[in-house]
């Protein structure tokens, strides 16, 4: 791989990688069982430089911002490289947000350019807020011929001949603005520098290197910090190959493992659990004698891999299982949300290590990772090289808030000095997560100090952000909380949002009001929905400016209401 210490920016590192590994395959893109694109590093360079030149000719300058709004595909990475080549700042946006939310973030980021997939652009054009869009240049990928693009250009036609000028950036310059959450209320745009990414990449590849021939299956959205690092920057600076699938249907994902002989894949817990369900169902269908043999092989594998992973041994013992994953899989990488230890153990016992970690967008990608020496399903691993972690104000069990200091920690929140000051104190990032270290230096997470949930799909949801959906509810007042914030758990999991309802004095909770709440709740994407409600009999405590004192309210609720009183929606 490249020696990243030598580089001052992502653009320079990627530029050298394209030359160093020119003959290696860097990208494969498949739609179902049809392969659409296969590019070498040299092809990638030839495709991206005309785009960089066209951007420069359109007055896209150093430090200008360009947003990408696309599902995982080759044009995502090609566009990102062209942006970095031109000295731009990349703003990766979440394609799963609503068009209204995407427009809000686009405005907040002040992106000068938007690269967007046609179906997403079509939804944005239909949004009532569309007329407010201020983005100067819109490049639309895969638009049907003759489609109305409302002033946008076809990405495929937006290229110019002639070598573009490479624009060098310094380590402290901004590389990306990544939104960790906050679409409805207070957008949290994490401003990450080139140093953040270069150092994160060095730390991750020190433990889990890529090399030419490695194939990484990119399933997590590339706008997510994990896939951006392990599905783009990491593999590219090591000469490895990224495989994109245009569908996430389980049957095609399974085929892709085999067809492309995948080496690594990063998945959110929801998908890993789905894989587990599928495998368990297959095992249950086996005749009893085959099942007995399988159980013996699993027991033998467990014994032989107790101290460390031995993938070759596991492949020999459980060939059918490993063939189903292509036969070359070294590990499943997981993160972004709580993963049940039993699921990780299930895969490890089959000889497929699950590399579990912990991180947050504010800290680049990962702060800790499991090094598999030995495998531990009950922790999120040890701090990565260069990462310092502290437990603040530990209680008698050693549990306190985790604080992090590292070259991977973001510079600040975009246009929010107050939030930055609250979050980064004396150089330490206050994560809002609670945990402790065990005797072997592994971090064990136990809950959250902050009022938020992380879904099994890896999405951060802040209750304040979704409250506006319920505006106009005919009752005195309401408030949304993360259930685990009100009723702290000793461990992660069971995360849900609950709504506290305060009725008018003479009002009764009836089916009309319930239906009203249900209908409004359904306007939210499924992963953002409120899971339950309960009636609160007192007025909410408020500040002088009438903001709800959430912490005080949560404490009052905790003392008088049990979690069991929450009624499911």
């Amino acid at each position: 791989m490249l020696d990243l210490q030598k580089y001052s920016c992502l653009g320079a590192a990627l530029r050298d990688a394209l030359d160093r590994f020119s003959g290696e395959t860097c990208l494969i893109e498949a739609d179902r069982d049809r392969e659409k694109t296969r590019l070498t590093y040299s092809d990638f360079k030839e495709t991206s430089l005309p785009l960089a030149r066209a951007l420069e000719d359109a007055d896209f300058d150093a430090g200008d911002r360009a947003a990408i709004l696309m599902t995982n595909q080759s044009k995502w990475l090609i566009s990102a490289y062209a942006i970095f080549y031109s000295g731009g700042v990349l703003v990766p946006l979440d394609y799963k947000l609503t068009a209204t939310e995407q427009l809000q973030l686009l405005e907040h980021s002040k992106a000068k350019v938007l690269v967007v997939e046609y179906y997403l652009w079509r939804a944005i054009m239909q949004s009532p807020q569309f007329h407010n869009i201020k983005t100067g240049l819109v490049l639309v990928t895969e638009a049907p011929l003759g489609a109305d693009l409302a002033g946008g250009f076809r990405w495929e036609d937006f290229k110019r001949k002639g070598a573009p000028d490479f624009v060098m950036r310094q380590r402290e310059d901004v590389a990306c603005i990544v939104y960790s959450s906050g679409t409805g209320g207070r957008p949290k745009g994490c401003v990450l520098t080139h140093e953040n990414y270069l150092e994160q990449c060095r730390a991750l590849t020190a433990w889990y290197p890529f090399w030419p021939g490695v194939r990484y299956l990119s399933i997590l959205p590339t706008n997510h910090a994990i896939d951006f690092m392990v599905g783009f920057i990491g593999p590219f600076v090591c000469g490895a190959c990224v495989v994109h699938l245009r569908t996430l249907r389980p049957e095609f994902v399974r085929d892709a493992f085999v067809r492309y002989r995948i080496t690594y894949v990063a998945l959110v817990p929801m998908i890993v659990k789905n894989l587990e369900r599928g495998l368990r169902a297959k095992f249950d269908e086996l005749p009893s004698w085959k099942r007995a043999i399988l159980n013996r092989m699993i027991a033998l594998n467990k014994m032989l891999t107790r101290s460390r992973a031995r993938v070759k041994v596991s492949r020999a013992l459980l060939p059918q299982v490993h063939r189903a994953f292509g036969g070359d899989l070294l590990a499943l990488i997981t993160g972004g949300a709580f993963m049940e230890p039993s699921t990780m153990q299930f895969f490890y016992d089959l000889g497929i290590p699950v590399v579990n970690g912990y991180g947050l967008t504010e800290a680049g990608t990962a702060l800790t990772l499991n090094d598999l020496k030995p495998f531990r399903a009950d922790t999120v691993g040890k701090p990565l090289p260069g990462v310092e972690l502290r437990v603040l104000n530990p209680n008698e069990e050693g549990i306190g808030e985790i604080a992090a200091r590292s070259k991977t920690v973001m510079s600040h929140y975009l246009d929010d000095a107050e939030l930055t000051l609250e979050t980064i104190v004396d150089g330490w990032l206050l994560t809002g997560d609670l945990g402790r270290f065990d005797k072997s230096g592994h971090l064990q997470l136990s809950g959250r100090k902050k009022n938020m949930i992380v879904t099994e799909g890896g999405k951060n949801i802040y209750p304040e952000d979704i409250e506006t959906v319920f505006d106009g509810l005919p009752l005195k007042e309401y408030c949304v909380f993360a259930a685990n914030y009100v009723w702290p758990q000793k461990e992660l999991g069971r995360e849900m949002l609950v709504m506290v309802l305060r009725l008018e004095q003479t009002q009764r909770f009836d089916s009309t009001l319930l239906q009203n709440i249900v209908n409004l709740n359904r306007r939210l994407p499924d992963f953002k929905r409120v899971g339950g409600y309960f009636i609160w009999e007192k007025d909410f405590p408020r500040t002088a400016s009438m903001k709800i004192k959430r912490q005080a309210l949560a404490e009052e609720i905790r003392q008088t209401v049990e979690r069991g009183a929450v009624v499911g929606l």
């Binding site: 599902t71 997403l120 939804a123 249907r249 389980p250 049957e251 929801m270 789905n274």
Partner: protein
């Protein structure tokens, strides 16, 4: 071409059989995540069944933001 109501009815029947839920528990405007007890990944599975049934190709994004059977039926109807 099938009538829109017929498409909707066939989707409801198919979902009931595939996810082993009584047909009478499913309504056109009902939330299929809740009615079928499924997550977003399992809805992709439903999409595959619908493709095979209606013999059309439905990109994953056709499901984005959709949570009721009627809208799903409209998306499929547009591709028949």
């Amino acid at each position: 071409m099938k009538a829109a109501e017929q498409t909707l009815d066939e989707i409801l029947n198919l979902a009931a059989v595939h996810f082993k839920v009584p047909r009478e528990n499913l309504s056109p405007d009902g939330d299929f995540f809740k009615a079928l007890g499924i997550d977003s990944l399992q809805t992709l599975d439903l999409l595959t069944k619908l493709e095979n049934h209606f013999r059309v190709e439905l990109p994953d994004y056709e499901l984005q933001g959709v949570s009721d059977f009627r809208t799903l039926a409209e998306r499929i109807q547009a591709r028949l």
